[in-house]
Symmetry: C2
Subunit: 489 residues, 2 copies
């Protein structure tokens, strides 16, 4: 039997290239002598093993999600979360733990509801869009026109069909594609700008099909941006199911009317804060590696994947390193941003107030794509050459994360909150994860702790702690190549 | 190059058995000479080709879902649907089209809401259970105790922990398993009986984790059954997310209180009807093959998969046969049952009022598992031998459905509404479909037309029309073997 198998193996090895069907064993990543990876192989193994054996990320995320809950800018929930995050990092023994005060917009949802009034009464499941004005006391009742694409406005305008109406934006988000991603970037445009696009044409309100490819009658909120040139009109997300119902009725020739009532309003700006805590560098403490997530969320669900998880893995990354007494040369600074969802005041304030210090920011990493299985990092710099060198160095480092699964380095957009540092020349990075479910939960009441897998969460901590440690310790700054081994690749 | 490929092919053929990796071509189902399948091969091809080329099922289901909507027993929606179904079958030229009057229970949901009041205010997403009593005007506020399994009552009872409390049943539905199915049958027990189980222990209300393995904060309603021995207490489904939140808070040592307000009530019984329509048999019109679904639904969503789809494919099956002028020997009778969801009054009334006629019922097929990809049929008879013969004959017939995909015959439970005919000796059948998503939508606002795939719907029509035609036309009655070819298998 052994000889038969051996022969077969030999033959298969010969035959396979012709058919291209060889099942290749997963290749062990090659670590080149003298490379960054070679230097940090021991450190990486130590960090990953420690994190995967035990860490506090899940219990901390569970606390944030269940005991504090959602955390919209200006809410008590966010204030509680800020105080809690400070207390956690103090308890962990981190340095320079502090809230950095930022004033944030305070939008209040209030009671809201909508229903189809014609051709038959049918309640709609809605979530007003963040930043929307409310309706007047009695609400708005008007006929609905459907817009699937900007071009639809051409004929609607001509026939004066938008004036006095409620516009329903019914553009579909595509199914998630592992190659091209979610399609969120383009699908979201009507949620962001649709209210003013409709107001420019004298509509009285807008309904937006929730930005998701999968729905169980689940409305997705999110921010809108009014264009000052036009009147501010109320805007709410409806579920894909309700959008389909209205669009199908209209396609069948029915006139559809909807009643919309929203008590949403803007309150005066409220005091908030970015939360900062540090693992101080041993020899170059003035040089900084930021790891970060945003602590604010929408006012539904628990902000588990968006972005409680991103905050917790940053807190836990330096907690683990300190416990292992692995103090890198440079400082690792955790920043938990405020107001990512509806203003970006936290990210903007940080870039402004730390402007003088930005040249010392070696890299700023943000995690804001959920805490599913980690898949690598993006890297972004306004200098394409530095970006390319950084990407090359990171690809080298990724070999060390092989125990966590295959990792990939991409270039480009890395995070909203770190974005304002781009102009200061800071190298930006985004922590990337498997993305097929993120937008199912995004900005909904379903973004809850039960959607987070403890094992996947731990892998995120392991990845982030390892990468932050190496970037804070390696002789060259990410994106520079003074040393030979960097230059030989 | 050619010779290299030839050699490689030869070698691969030699090697493959060792590794067990041969890619076998799908086997064409063998149709035995003289079998039922052999007799009806031409008919089946004709029906399937015609249905897959064109049919009205999707546009009719869309009408039912969007223009009429949900259809709870006693509602205007159900009355409209009954009248519409009658008019459709009359228009199709069917015979003996009629509503058969049945009185049904009329449960009215009314306004309802719930929120966690302690440790922090948090609204809950609920759907009262069908048949539940309401709360008093002010609602009920009480501490919550969690029950994951009946055994939990043992210690809860001992410590008098249930008295005066709200019981949360937090048993999880497993993920769908293609081998063992959904696990609905056992998971649903707390929804059905939990209110009285808790009332027996002096609870004041119950919350039930929605019976689903997948949720986007989606509550699932469904019927409860009160045990007359105990007080009737209010009962509502909450989402899996909300159930997790409460259970986790309590596990963390928090006392959780909930306020529940429900205006649900029973109204006097209302007039309703089973809708009947026939394709009259050419030589044995007194012998009947029933094809059926239930026209009532819950009072949310559109009852698209449950069970608008089942009704429409039955209507469309005889529509197609009549258009093809394929009139079988026996009568095919469409029955659209009323009140499957919360009383089964339609199915019971039919069995009672048609009792004398039951010996002439050759078979009664129900479709009530959604209209996903069709996968075959179940067969059920109180005589195991007849059931076995029926299954064998159906396996033969299934070969003709190969163009629609692989089909399987199982034995056992076939449908709630046809169930009351079992005691009359009638052969029952259930139309089966791919089941992985059915319970995601079941009894929710997400059971809507956009969840129905037109191609899959057509395949259901093709399967049902073919099987109904053959069962109504084949010389032997299903489950009997007077003729030789039946006995030789």
């Amino acid at each position: 039997m052994l000889s038969r198998v051996l022969i077969a193996s030999f033959l298969l090895a010969f035959v396979s290239p012709v058919f291209g069907e060889t099942k290749s064993e997963p290749v062990e990543p090659t670590i080149e002598h003298g490379s960054i990876a070679a230097q940090y192989q021991g450190a990486a193994t130590k960090i990953i093993d420690a994190v995967m054996a035990k860490n506090q990320a899940y219990e901390r995320l569970e606390y944030l999600c269940t005991r504090i809950g959602h955390r919209l800018s200006g809410s008590n929930g966010l204030t509680k979360a800020i105080n809690w995050a400070v207390s956690v990092m103090v308890k962990d023994g981190q340095e320079n733990v502090r809230p950095e005060r930022v004033m944030v917009p305070a939008w209040f949802r209030g009671a809201e509801n909508a229903l189809i009034t014609h051709p038959r009464a049918q309640p709609l499941t809605i979530l007003g869009l963040g930043g929307s004005v409310g309706t007047s006391g009695k609400g708005i009742t008007a006929a609905v026109v459907v817009v699937e694409h900007e071009d639809d406005f051409l004929w609607l305008d001509e026939e004066e069909k938008v004036r006095g109406k409620i516009v329903l934006y019914n553009n579909k988000m595509p199914e998630y594609d592992p190659e091209t991603g979610s399609g969120y970037g383009t699908t979201v445009r009507f949620r962001s700008k649709g209210a003013s696009m409709a107001a420019a044409r004298h509509a009285v309100a807008v309904l937006v099909r929730s930005v998701t490819a999968n729905s169980l009658n689940t409305p997705h909120t999110g921010a809108l941006r009014y264009d000052d040139k036009y009147p501010k009109i109320p805007a709410a997300a409806i579920t894909t199911e309700d959008a389909e119902l209205i669009a199908r009725l209209i396609k069948q020739g029915e006139a559809v009317s909807v009643h919309l009532s929203m008590n949403a309003r803007m309150l005066p700006d409220a005091a908030s804060a970015n939360v900062v805590g540090e693992l101080h560098g041993s020899t170059n403490p003035e040089e900084i590696v930021i790891i970060s997530g945003h602590l604010d969320s929408w006012d539904v669900g628990q902000g588990a994947h968006d972005d409680g998880g991103g905050c917790i893995i940053a807190i836990e990354a330096i907690n683990v390193l300190r416990k292992l007494n692995m103090i890198p040369r440079r400082t690792i600074r955790v920043v938990l941003w405020t107001n990512e969802e509806n203003g970006l005041r936290g990210g903007k304030a940080y870039a402004r107030e730390h402007e003088a210090e930005l040249p010392n920011h070696v890299v700023a990493i943000e995690s804001d794509s959920g805490v599913f299985h980690p898949t690598g990092y993006s890297v972004e710099n306004e200098d394409p050459e530095k970006q390319e060198i950084g990407a090359r160095q990171l690809r080298d480092i990724m070999r060390l994360l092989a125990p966590l699964g295959p990792m990939k380095i991409t270039t480009g957009h890395s995070g909203a909150d770190v974005g304002p540092m781009r102009q200061g020349g800071v190298m930006l990075m985004g922590h990337r994860v498997e993305g097929s479910k993120y937008f199912d939960y995004h900005h909904t009441a379903a973004d809850t702790i039960d959607k987070v897998d403890p094992e996947e969460l731990s892998k995120n901590v392991a990845s982030l702690a390892t990468v932050a440690y190496i970037l804070a310790d390696m002789p060259d700054r990410l994106g520079t190549t003074s040393r030979k081994e960097g230059a030989t690749h």
